[in-house]
């Protein structure tokens, strides 16, 4: 067990965990931020996606010991105040979620895409989003919501 201090959604948390503990489980079990989901544990499905310094990252394969103390972690809970991010609004307007389990990861990946590319075309969306799986099949609406959000940026 080691002591760590990590900054999540602008707030510093002190945790005591094994050094190989993936960030996902620090967020969920130690800090109580359950919006970030467990899907595969091997970086294959994208449900666990968070931002590390703005970059979409698979938290299930990111050991806490690899993280520098000063890095900024953003989870779905910290993406915006009162669900006001353009993507979250577009997600609701397009009625994207079905079961909703993958959607935190989808939105975090999409937010990282829009940070870098304000006007992504379908190819850009495919490349950014194809590692985020959705078993309910909401891909068409995800694509529409990203286009819609991009227009409002």
């Amino acid at each position: 067990m080691k002591n760590y201090s990590i900054k999540v959604n602008g707030k510093t948390h002190k945790v005591s965990v094994d050094d190989d503990t993936p960030l996902l489980w620090v967020l969920r079990d130690e800090i109580g931020l359950t919006g970030t989901k467990f899907g595969c544990g091997r970086g294959l499905c994208g449900t666990c996606t968070v931002h590390i310094n703005g970059e979409a990252t698979r938290s299930c394969v990111t050991p806490i010991d690899n993280l520098e103390e000063e890095i900024e972690i953003t989870t779905i809970e910290g993406l915006s105040k009162k669900t006001s991010h353009t993507l979250q609004k577009a997600w609701a307007e397009e009625e994207v979620p079905q079961c909703g389990y993958c959607q935190s990861g989808q939105i975090m990946t999409a937010a990282s895409l829009l940070n870098k590319n304000k006007n992504p075309n379908d190819n850009d969306i495919d490349n950014a989003m194809k590692m985020n799986l959705c078993r309910c099949g909401t891909y068409q609406r995800i694509r529409n919501a990203i286009h819609k959000a991009a227009k409002k940026l």
Binding site: G35, G41, C45, E77, V96, C99, G100, C134, R135
Partner: protein, 705 residues
């Protein structure tokens, strides 16, 4: 399953709570059984609070099909509720209050529509009566609108909340007047899901998100090879992992309990296990297929016989035979199986993402020797269901672990356990035969189905049975096409591979075989696939409705495709909803193909929440395409070989076709949409591949060599 002996007449049971609210619990007769027996099915709860807010209890599990929105819509419509004031609460397991809460068979809307309308209408009548008495006017002079009762002449009004105290003193009208569907304001309008915002900001709570005080975390090791036993294990290294509290054996499984999820996952990887492999260890996919092929040549059970197929074969000019084949496949919900259980001396509380809360409550009560009322089952949101969570195996494991540990336990399966221990769609082989006269008109249809039986696996000691009604009823004997000579046969082929109800169940298998074979028949007959089917479906209005709609919208008869393109059609009815689909593909130079468009039509009666119906069609199509293109479980050494999403690949956004859904306008009572969109997609794709390449692929997943 209903044990109570409720009085025959329709009635609503009123019960007031300690609060100021008007609470209406419904005890309405099952619309199907009412006239034939004394069964009555209680349904839902409505609470109108004195602050004018409305709370509607969803009695079915929400796994993404949005019943937590569509069920309240139905009640709100008849109540004349202000939709903005409606909140939904999830019912705990309670069969005596809510009837069977099992969520499957695309049944929630179909089963609850009449009862929920009646519930809303009865409450509205009571509120109007209360207002009329207060104003001392005739009820006919009053109307309800947007959570208010209005006196039409004077425009005086009360909110529903203001009428609660008086309304709750009345007996509930047994036969309230229902609205004319042409006056619907909520039903038929696309409404935002009541959970949608929560699902975009991380606050939606799934089973896996449950936290209770003093909770410990657990995971499990199960023998990958089905039918094997635990011989011994060495947990010495695992016990050194920090946070590990206990590792123990139960029911041929190993439980690992610790202070957080990571500690138990990590410890799991350090346990060395010796298994006592059973007979099934010798089995693999090839052996299973050989067994099924052998069975396909044996005498089978006749499920339906019409006319004289033997005679048709003898007198035929030409006989067409085809064999179609589907593999085992997994549900692969993105939320792995999980459950939280808290057991005390004489009570138990469980939080589970289950599709069958009543069964779970019963099983736990039996397991612990508790009264059923001392077992509370809270139904959480489900991170996907698709039929997998109709089985409570994971929840009962959590109970076993909590019994030993005597502290609240959250059991989380890792993905590998989830993939290897699903309740998979059965594999199947379909032998189809048709005969033709001299003009190449088909004269007979024979279909022999060889497949394991889900009911025999779970409730028949996994012994082969003569006839599995589910298999033959879902697209076997109820073939919509009118053939004078028909023979449907069944042969059971169970193995140790666990099987269960996978989205659309046997419909997905039978429709694949039926609709590809129909295309073959049309080809022999030198007819357009849609024209050809249309003639044979002339007596089925609803089949024709979806067929014509999708033909029109896809421009089937007018659009010219490029030489490297192809398209296919399929149609199927399941769970009393009708769907037809057209798939358009483009062949690439490397002999791969991309799916450009899917046109889908659906007739599910009145579409309660049309956008929700469209979403379900999209979901069904993607789910079905995954199994058509990739999702295959293979067996080796008696185990599922696949373990995670690298070797069980799901369709991803870059493979996504454009889906265009069209809903048939209807005034029929609504039926479901969660499954019926699935069965036509694989055969429509197979038919498109044939159209583009001339190659008839008869095995899922499709592989173009």
């Amino acid at each position: 399953m209903l044990k109570s002996n409720i009085n025959r007449r329709d009635f609503l049971k009123i019960s007031s709570t300690a609060s100021t609210g008007l609470v209406i619990g419904l005890f309405l007769p099952n619309s199907v059984n009412a006239s034939s027996n004394k069964k009555f099915i209680p349904n839902s709860f409505l609470t109108i609070n004195s602050d004018n807010s409305i709370l509607i209890t969803a009695t079915r599990s929400d796994m993404g099909q949005h019943v937590r929105t569509s069920l309240p819509m139905i009640l709100s419509e008849e109540l004349e509720a202000d939709w903005n004031l409606v909140k939904v609460v999830q019912a705990d397991a309670d069969e005596s209050q809510y009837g069977d809460q099992g969520t499957g068979g695309s049944g929630s809307i179909r089963e609850l529509f009449p009862e929920l309308r009646k519930a809303g209408a009865a409450a509205k009548e009571m509120l109007i009566k209360a207002a009329a008495e207060k104003w001392n006017v005739n009820v006919n002079e009053c109307k309800a609108e947007l959570n208010k009762v209005i006196h039409t002449q004077t425009k005086k009004q009360f909110t529903f909340g203001e009428l609660v105290g008086k309304a709750k003193t009345y007996s509930i009208p047994s036969n309230p007047k229902l609205k004319n569907p042409s006056d619907f304001k909520i039903i038929g309008k696309s409404m935002r899901g009541l959970d949608t915002l929560d699902k975009t900001n991380g606050s939606a709570m799934y089973g896996i998100d449950t936290v209770v005080p003093d909770m410990l975390f657990a995971t499990i090791i199960k023998c990958p090879s089905f039918g094997s036993k635990l011989k011994s294990y060495d947990s010495s290294d695992a016990l050194k992992v920090s946070g590990i509290i206990n590792i123990f054996e139960f029911n041929n499984k190993i439980a690992i309990v610790g202070k957080n999820t990571w500690s138990v996952f990590k410890a799991k990887s350090k346990i060395k296990v010796q298994w006592d492999y059973g007979e099934f260890y010798q089995w693999n996919s090839k052996k299973i297929k050989d067994m099924m092929v052998e069975k396909s040549n044996l005498e089978a059970t006749t499920a339906k016989k019409q006319g004289n197929v033997e005679k048709a074969i003898k007198s035929s000019n030409f006989t067409l035979e085809s064999t179609y084949e589907l593999p085992f496949t997994a549900h692969a919900t993105l939320e792995p199986m999980n459950c939280v259980a808290k057991i005390s001396n004489n009570s138990c509380e469980v939080w589970a993402p289950t599709q069958v809360p009543n069964g779970l409550q019963e099983d736990i009560a039996k397991n612990l020797g508790f009264d059923i009322n001392d077992v509370k089952v809270h139904v959480t949101l489900l991170g996907g269901g698709f039929g997998r969570r109709l089985f409570n195996d994971y929840a009962m494991e959590c109970i076993e672990i909590a019994k030993v540990i005597k502290k609240p336990i959250k059991l989380t399966w890792d993905r590998e356990t989830d993939m290897k221990h699903g309740m998979n769609r059965p594999a199947s082989i379909h032998k189809l035969t048709s005969t033709f006269d001299k003009k190449n008109n088909p004269t007979s249809w024979s279909h022999k189905i060889i497949s394991p039986s889900i009911s025999a696996y779970h409730w028949g000691e996994n012994k082969n049975i003569n006839l599995d009604k589910g298999t033959i009823n879902q697209g076997g004997i109820n073939l919509p096409y009118n053939f004078k000579n028909m023979l449907i046969e069944y042969k059971c082929a169970n193995t140790e591979v666990p099987i269960g109800w996978w989205r659309a169940v046997y419909n997905s298998q039978n429709a694949f075989a039926n609709e590809c074979f129909m295309d073959e028949i049309a080809f022999v007959n030198k007819k357009d696939p849609i024209e050809f089917r249309k003639k044979l479906l002339s007596k089925s209005k609803r089949h024709l409705g979806v067929l014509n709609l999708v033909a029109e919208k896809s421009q089937w008869f007018t659009k010219k495709l490029n030489s490297n393109q192809g398209r296919g059609f399929a149609i199927h009815e399941s769970f009393r909803s009708w769907t037809a689909q057209v798939v358009e593909i483009t062949m690439n130079e490397d002999n791969s193909f991309s799916i450009d468009n899917v046109y889908a039509s659906v007739d599910c009666g009145i579409a309660v929440n049309p956008d929700g119906v469209k979403a379900q069609m999209e979901g069904c199509i993607v789910y079905g395409l995954t199994s058509a293109l990739a999702g295959e479980l293979t067996i080796k050494n008696g185990s599922v070989q696949q373990s995670n999403f690298h070797d069980f690949q799901l369709l991803s956004i870059d493979q996504m076709p454009k889906i265009h859904t069209y809903i048939v306008e209807s005034s029929e009572n609504p039926t479901g949409a969660g499954e019926p969109g699935l069965p036509p997609i694989a055969p429509a794709l197979g038919n498109a591949i044939f159209n583009a390449t001339g190659k008839r692929l008869k095995k899922l997943p499709f592989k173009l060599s």
